[in-house]
């Protein structure tokens, strides 16, 4: 009897130890994830920012949700055309967000108006990608220290939008998409006012474009080096002439490739397809190669995220298995951000040439060669030196 009691006690003790270990692991692993979700990044309002508002102004269904993101307006000194920059549609492609932040912390709009949404999928930027071993943050070195950013996921957090359907049916075309795409803000265009949360996000952007009469909409991304649609401008029929001119100009004048890919009419839900089909804007989707997202790579470290150097990709490049040139220098963040900066500026210039009555002229922002030479950090403002009213915690 005593032996049995002792055995039971030992069993209870074992379970208590296991439960304590489980709790300790849950706290050790869970708290950083919670902190990541609630970590806000400071964005400094640059000299050109005239107004900051929430996307819910155009999509009331977003109000009070994590998906309600900031929109920055940079109204020009002279009237002209209007452009919208969208970044962090996929929050694991940070070159878009960095480009957008450089624009809104430095740009002065001479003619026209620029709208910038630096963190389009705010929910996704506060989520991680289980199974993929991503870092939670990355730091960009600057002259005054490091500036920290959240590294997020391609899709919105299930904490904000769940459950997923067994298959996602695109609105309004009824095309069947993968269930997970219901949380992907580059599959939910043009969206609905009362649809799933991510459809309300894209609906808000569509409403902004429709009500404000946006001429040019640029959605900034990154894509794997092994993915055929990379290092390019994706454009539908309406934008393809401008995109072609941009590709030719940046190659001739700035020395980097950025070819044009046609937007397939049969693949629905993507910004480069739906924005033009459901609103007044000319859509462009920019892709810069981001080796970090490729499958056959070494460890997923912050260093690799930023410098894009990987021995496996180098070997595969020699075997002709990549869709972009790749050497020992990798694809550093400076090159990726620099390309996006130049391509955006060139789109504005080409649009202004084509529509002389609606010019968009932006000054004060670096181009490809500047960012490649000086680094991204050179163009990021120091939040500690900004007036409190000039900081937006995003």
């Amino acid at each position: 009897m005593e032996m049995r009691t002792g055995g039971v006690k030992r069993g209870v003790a074992d379970k208590a130890v296991l439960a304590a270990l489980f709790l300790a692991l849950a706290l050790w692993g869970g708290l950083p994830l919670r902190r990541h979700r609630h970590h806000d990044i400071p964005i400094v309002k640059g000299p050109g920012v005239t107004r900051v508002f929430r996307l819910s102004e155009y999509s009331p269904g977003l109000k009070g949700t994590t998906a309600d993101t900031f929109v920055f307006e940079l109204r020009g000194r002279e009237p002209g055309g209007k452009a919208l920059l969208i970044a962090n549609t996929h929050s694991n492609e940070p070159e878009g967000m960095l480009s957008a932040i450089i624009f809104l912390e430095n740009a002065v709009v001479e003619k026209g108006t620029l709208y910038i949404i630096p963190v389009f999928n705010n929910s996704g930027s506060r989520a991680t990608r289980p199974g993929d071993g991503y870092p939670l943050y990355f730091d960009i070195a600057t002259d005054w220290g490091a500036r920290r950013f959240r590294f997020g996921n391609r899709d919105a957090s299930p904490l904000d939008q769940w459950p997923d359907p067994d298959v996602y049916i695109h609105y309004p075309d009824r095309q069947l998409l993968s269930y997970i795409d219901v949380r992907n803000t580059n599959r939910t265009w043009p969206g609905r006012a009362d649809g799933p949360l991510m459809e309300r996000v894209t609906f808000g952007a569509m409403e902004l474009m429709r009500r404000e009469g946006i001429d040019v909409a640029i959605d900034i991304h990154g894509a794997e080096t092994m993915f055929p649609v990379t290092n390019c401008i994706v454009a539908p029929e309406s934008s393809v002439r401008i995109a072609t001119m941009v590709a030719m100009t940046v190659k001739a004048m700035e020395g980097f490739e950025n070819h044009v890919e046609p937007s397939p009419a049969g693949f629905r839900g993507l910004s480069h397809r739906e924005i033009g089909d459901h609103g007044p804007s000319l859509p462009f989707l920019l892709e810069a190669p981001i080796p970090f997202l490729d499958q056959p790579t070494g460890p997923k470290t912050v260093e690799f995220l930023l410098d894009g150097k990987d021995p496996f990709l180098l070997s595969l490049s020699a075997k002709g298995k990549l869709f972009v040139p790749y050497d020992e220098s990798g694809w550093p963040i400076e090159k990726r951000v620099g390309q996006h900066m130049s391509v955006c500026l060139e789109i504005f210039r080409q649009f202004s040439r084509k529509s002389a009555d609606r010019p968009i002229a932006v000054s004060g922002v670096p181009r490809y060669a500047d960012v490649a030479e000086n680094g991204v950090g050179r163009y990021l403002a120091d939040p500690s030196k900004a007036a409190p009213g000039d900081i937006v915690m995003n």
Partner: protein
């Protein structure tokens, strides 16, 4: 860096083998491999030691949706079983078709296919309908060893069958390819291979069906309507979203199964102790659910350390012909070691690669997901194989049971490989499904 990653991989394998040698379960062995990989990765700060806990916890959520579907679907099928629905259908099948052997065999095949097709898990088919179907096969004169072989192969095919194919779902989620176009691409081969299996293994013993007296007595009050109504609710909810997608709320598969389970519970002619049944279901599923959790952790650590990239690199660097020659061995073996994790760790890079050189990703996924279930009969997990032996009551050697599956095994392998190699030519199956 490559050498360091190889060392980390070796440490992970050693930890897995050591844990298995110490008689640890598969899920604990996988967990041990993940922890060992994370600790050895910390030497090169990939990941830093301080982040190991976060990676393990984050990885454990990789398959949370699949786990929920798995649980609710099994709960649903268990209620249908406990209410007497399965016995009723098996008995009615033998009564109605027992004298036409071929029809009886085909009907039993369908009965095994349905639960696995709905849940994506062959184990659910075996747990729910395995025993009565084995009994029915016995009544048709099929010896236990062959009955076990039929159950193993058909349960494996049921897991691959649409609408829920977890391997394909994992692959689609990991490659950003829509989980659509599988209905005919998987449905046709599964039905053809299932038919071949039951006829090849069940045809010979033409002893004729005896009376159905040995089957469990049907629960009084059970009717076709009571059996079918919960399934109608489930398919009705699935169909409602497809027909009126912009007016129907999104329930998700888990809630759809849960609602169907409620209907089955309400319509059951006998009282079911729901809490006990639910807790028994969790207990029974625990090894499987824990495996999914541990595989998610392993996948996260493999990616963070670069081991997954190394595996992917090796797959992509292998000459295509050699790769195809290795598939029939490597794919089932990977399932035997990692269960569903094999799809993520090996499958995703393979799909990326084959897609980039012009193979049709959806058809390739369908082909691969016919090969993976074969591995569920291989050690160390051998989950479906062991369950098949258990529910059929076969008490011979496991090796003999596996030998009995050789013919359908070979045919399935041949069909799967044909689908992979000629995927572009079979793209019409995907179009039909859309």
């Amino acid at each position: 860096m490559t050498t360091q990653i190889i060392v980390i991989l070796a440490v992970m394998i050693a930890a897995y083998v050591a844990a298995k040698a110490a008689k640890a379960s598969v899920e604990l062995s996988i967990f041990a491999a993940a922890v060992a990989g994370g600790l050895s990765g910390a030497f090169i700060e990939a990941p830093p030691l301080g982040e190991l806990g976060r990676h393990l916890v984050e990885g454990s959520f990789t398959y949370i949706d699949v786990i929920l579907v798995f649980f609710t679907a099994t709960l649903f099928m268990t209620i249908v079983n406990d209410s007497g629905g399965v016995d009723y259908v098996v008995r009615a099948t033998l009564r109605g078709l027992g004298r036409t052997r071929i029809l009886a065999l085909l009907a039993l095949m369908i009965i095994v296919l349905v639960p696995g097709a709905l849940t994506g898990a062959g184990s659910v088919s075996l747990l729910v309908v395995g025993a009565p179907v084995a009994l029915a096969l016995g009544r048709l004169g099929v010896p236990q060893k062959r009955a076990a072989a039929i159950l193993f192969i058909v349960a494996g095919l049921s897991a691959a069958a649409p609408p829920v194919n977890i391997w394909a779902m994992i692959l689609c989620a990991g490659t950003a390819i829509p989980y659509v176009g599988f209905e005919f691409t998987l449905g046709i081969p599964v039905l053809l291979l299932g038919t071949f299996t039951v006829l090849a293994l069940g045809w010979k013993n033409a002893a004729g069906a005896g009376p159905a007296a040995d089957l469990p007595e049907p629960v009084p009050g059970m009717t076709w309507w009571r059996v079918l109504a919960p399934f109608l609710v489930f398919f009705g909810l699935v169909a409602a979203y497809r027909i009126w997608p912009f007016a129907t709320p999104i329930f998700g598969l888990s809630l759809e199964f849960a609602l169907a389970a409620v209907v089955a519970l309400v319509l059951s002619p006998k009282k079911i102790a729901f809490l006990k049944l639910a807790s028994d279901t969790v207990r029974r599923l625990l090894p499987l659910l824990a495996t999914m959790v541990a595989v998610g952790m392993l996948q996260q650590i493999m990616t963070a350390t670069g081991v997954r990239g190394l595996v992917s690199f090796a797959a992509i660097s292998t000459p295509l012909v050699l790769l195809f020659l290795l598939f029939p061995l490597v794919i089932p073996f990977s399932e035997g070691v990692l269960t569903y994790g094999a799809a993520a760790i090996l499958g995703i890079p393979l799909i990326w690669f084959l897609d980039s050189i012009g193979y049709h990703a959806t058809v390739v996924m369908a082909g691969l997901s016919l090969l993976w279930p074969l591995g569920d009969g291989l050690p160390p997990t051998a989950l479906i194989g062991r369950l098949s032996v258990m529910v059929s009551g076969y008490d011979g050697s496991y090796k003999d049971f596996l030998k009995a599956t050789w013919l359908p095994w070979l045919v399935i392998t041949a069909v799967a490989m044909a689908m992979i190699v000629f995927s572009s030519k079979l793209a019409f199956l995907v179009k039909w499904s859309m």
